[in-house]
Symmetry: D2
Subunit: 342 residues, 4 copies
């Protein structure tokens, strides 16, 4: 008898990815799948790639349908997890892939989301210093946003080592699945194929305060982040290019040493060999973050590029990785570092 799991929002992209991973996980048993408007239909109509789950019928997402499980994964629009989580037992592990419980500051939440703040849960990025200990003891996990996952993994070693000035520029390209499955004209295939576009420029993207929060905590001082997200013609993947001024004395060798050390023991973050740069395709379907660094002497900057699959390490894989820890399972169980390529 496995760990009984429920997945809410199972007809969306986050929910689908969680199910894809759980279906191959040796310890979880997918007992319940729920949805909002799609409740009552079969999962196969929405997630036709999940053949073994195709005839599962979607229940409605309610506290009642989600009750009685060991783990509940939430893949819901922001604002919906808060009220729902209140109604789930304290002994149930609740893993929220939405934004509701990520931000420490109610002010940030209100400014970027415009609704009352639901609270703050332990942050599901095990690679952050001390975070595994916290995750081991919790029944509530806030899975990081996809952009913050890539940017935090790219930059926190530099701030932990004190080698970067606290003024960061990030430009990231994301696949379209990051925008979710609700149909909007600008997300039509006809619009996105053959096109890269910018959006949310100038500090207004909702993932900005989450990046600032993560990097400032590691740096021990306020870090500013100029974040520009762009939409790229691919379904999955984030490539984040991150740069900050190097502090005095930094060299190419010392920069590399900082990252080699930081990721030496990490199962899911890898500093690529020198000369090889990340491509999102290297991570498709894998729970891996691939990182490479450069020291631009002329510009006095360090540049870090990170690639992840926004749905795997950036959402469903990250969720399962943190759930593994909270449940006392091996952290890597059911997760792979092997991508599907080409």
């Amino acid at each position: 008898m496995g760990i009984r799991a429920a997945v809410a929002g199972a007809s969306g992209y986050a929910g689908g990815e969680i199910l894809r991973i759980l279906a191959g996980h040796p310890e979880f048993e997918i007992e319940t799948v729920t949805a909002g408007g799609n409740a009552g239909t079969e999962l196969g109509a929405h997630q036709p790639h999940l053949r073994s789950l195709a005839d599962r019928v979607l229940a409605e997402t309610t506290p009642e349908t989600l009750a009685g499980h060991d783990v509940v994964f939430l893949g819901l629009p922001h604002g919906q997890s808060g009220p729902l989580a209140e109604r789930l037992g304290d002994d149930v592990l609740v893993v929220d892939c939405g934004a509701d419980f990520r931000l420490a500051g109610a002010d940030d939440w209100t400014r970027f989301y415009g609704t009352p703040h639901a609270g703050t849960w332990p942050y599901g990025l095990p690679e952050l210093p001390g975070q595994r200990e916290i995750l081991r003891e919790t029944r509530r996990i806030a899975v990081p946003g996809c952009y913050p996952t890539s940017v935090t993994l790219a930059l926190f070693p530099a701030f932990a080592a004190g080698i970067a000035e606290p003024d960061v520029v990030v430009v990231a390209a994301s696949g379209t699945s990051g925008a979710g499955r609700a149909p909007k004209p600008n997300l039509l295939g006809s619009e996105v194929m053959g096109s890269v576009s910018a959006y949310g420029v100038g500090g207004v993207h909702r993932h900005t305060p989450e990046m600032i929060q993560n990097l400032s905590a590691v740096a021990g001082e306020p870090v500013t982040v100029s974040f520009t997200p762009t939409l790229a013609p691919m379904s999955r993947g984030i490539l984040a290019t991150c740069t900050a001024k190097a502090r005095p004395g930094v060299t190419a060798a010392s920069l590399r040493a900082v990252y080699t050390d930081a990721y030496a023991g990490e199962p899911f973050v890898e500093l690529l060999p020198e000369g090889q740069w990340p491509a999102t395709a290297m991570t498709l379907g894998a729970n891996t973050a691939l990182v490479q660094v450069a020291h631009d002497e002329a510009a006095g900057r360090i540049v870090v590029v990170a690639a992840i699959d926004n749905l795997t390490k950036g959402t469903g894989g990250g969720a399962v990785q943190s759930a593994n820890i909270a449940l006392g399972l091996p952290e890597q169980l059911g997760l792979t570092t092997i991508g599907v390529s080409p």
Copy 2:
């Protein structure tokens, strides 16, 4: 101690896919990876998505480097498997993903490939009637071509049931990985993105005789095949649209019954629910063939559409499926029906 495996052509697309599957297979141990021009370099330079194998060094593809394994997978340009296989022991399981041993007729081989015929090996399509028995007893397997896999699975039930006239039209769209990794101007991203193109039209594509061979054998009479392959702007996937005149008495219901019966017990071929049509993305990275049928009454035709991942069920997954059988392992071991989507 697992089954010791070698993969020749490990820096190509077929070899990479075999490795991707073997890396997640509980019984195989990847002992040796070999290449031609890339020998001496690390696998990670060519297959950066296979993180756990990245530092393996490619040996040269020779009978010597391939000796001493329980299984040898060959992912080589056609014409190279023949001489190599002769030098491998009879007790070694050799699984050839090339074309060399697929055709029964030397004439066909010579006409389409222009070189001497190497011979004929048991055909690695377990779904064909009686084929599992043959595969259970062999140490030599010719993995089918990717197009013939999709077309044969789409049409053999109709011919086995005698409901189709032996004059077939097939138009199939393939992702670019089907053309391999050797760089050619027409395979550049700039050329293929935003474009669908036809090639090998009029019966000249090398996979044509293989389709004729398979369908004629099942039909018990000569079947003609008009095959038009097209190149689509995606890396992976084949969508094959296949049609033949319906024999008298065929109805939508009887057609559906034939396919329901044919695939009732098959782990890797699925007739989709009525109203749902295959898309290649449903199969990405999975060993699944998804099939749907229609009876076009006005045109008097049956139409069958099949989708596969050309590298998985069409190459590396099909290879491992047949190898599992030949080695007495469970047929589904290390293979999944769960695709990566969106």
Copy 3:
């Protein structure tokens, strides 16, 4: 003072393409642009690629806003052109890019569209025998569907020459813009990228009766058409693969001669040199149909492949070509055979 034109449905894909062509046409003056739900907004919000028209405000699509022009182009959902056209003067040239007036038979209309038949207008495919004479004298033009344009141009010479059996198989790949701009989940970029899918299989696609009508008229006998449309991961383009049994005596040379003759004088249809096969990218933004033929001796079939840009030759360019004829302008005015590639 130019020819005063109005474009209805200007915020959609068909309307946008008509405007793109009219903006570069030396004789038309774009006086009015109209829309449904987008009325009152600026064109630049919907067609940001049409910089010189960006600040035009969309009027509502009504008989009143469309009155007072020399030409009215309609790019509307099917069913809307009929009532609107009744209210436009008989001396106004009305060019309908919708389906309302394409079909001769009310039965066909009702069966495939389910609403009352609006009527039948002269068919805007100038390449059909005798069609230019008809178009010269009309004030009403039904622009062909995009699929029927490609298929009719591919096959009518064979039927006019009597070299093909009247049992046709067509499999066509289309870019996503053919499905229009109304947002639907299956047209999201995340769904269509990396995927080819079939839809409308088995004779149910609405363009089927139009193909049958065209080919039967040329053949002088009923032609059956088995038509399978597929959706390809590109914004624009149709590649239609068409085949029929060759009548006795047909050879590769005689087949080629038929097509060379048929298109010798045509400005916008070209038989490619032997050995070169059409790709949709060759036609992007051009009013060209590119055709190639093969005689498959073993299968006893002729195979014709045609490529067009579904929005140009298949919609807006075809509309302007026919309008040029009806207005007594040079047929090629404002249209190009030069595509944008790569």
Copy 4:
């Protein structure tokens, strides 16, 4: 009798784009097309989208075949234009799309290209202050690189107005045609589709010194540029995200005013309306640069995003725009601001 033009490198992407534009230009007559390895073949084999030029035979690229024209456009690998240009008459307008004559400093050239410096020609970016006057008097034009075109247009108004600190970060996404037509494994469709990747990180991309040169000249002080190029899964287009610290007193309004003024009279650069951000698809096939600006108050930065078609405004269109000026023709002749979309 038009202006007699020759295009060298006519089988490549730059050459093809120049030809595409010249074919629609009312004053140029394409007299000669030349190539290297493809000499002796027909243009249609390499540029099948240029139907009206398809049967032109490619001459070899030599001083002799290029002699006797009024204008010679060079679309050659860097290093080849220098020796060739020396042999062309001083009265011939030579427009070089390669890098050979772009850099003022021989040191920069040698460091980034490793060969002797050929010299410095007037720079073909008419939008730069005072540049039109220079181009009017010259017979030699160095067309800017595609990345420097987008970045310079994005940032020079800020430096001309003195509102930005001279420490610039640029991250740009480019379509694959920017890498040219020589087949390389990493440019295969199978590799680039579904993937965004970084390359040339850390100040080593050859377009870096050109950006520094342009921005420093306008700023009147040395500007550092941290430039990271990325490869996106599309054939054409560059989206450049550029940021620098704002100087004291800058506001959103003052920033916008600077750009409104800078581009008020420019035919080919447009500041988009507030709230609309550039997408590369808006510029496909058009000679337009679309720009948008944001003031990120929290980060103290100005962010400018620019989109161009790398082959049009970034190469062939920019070349013709400058040639028009040098020949005393209207600057906009034969060029369009209307893109092909979707």
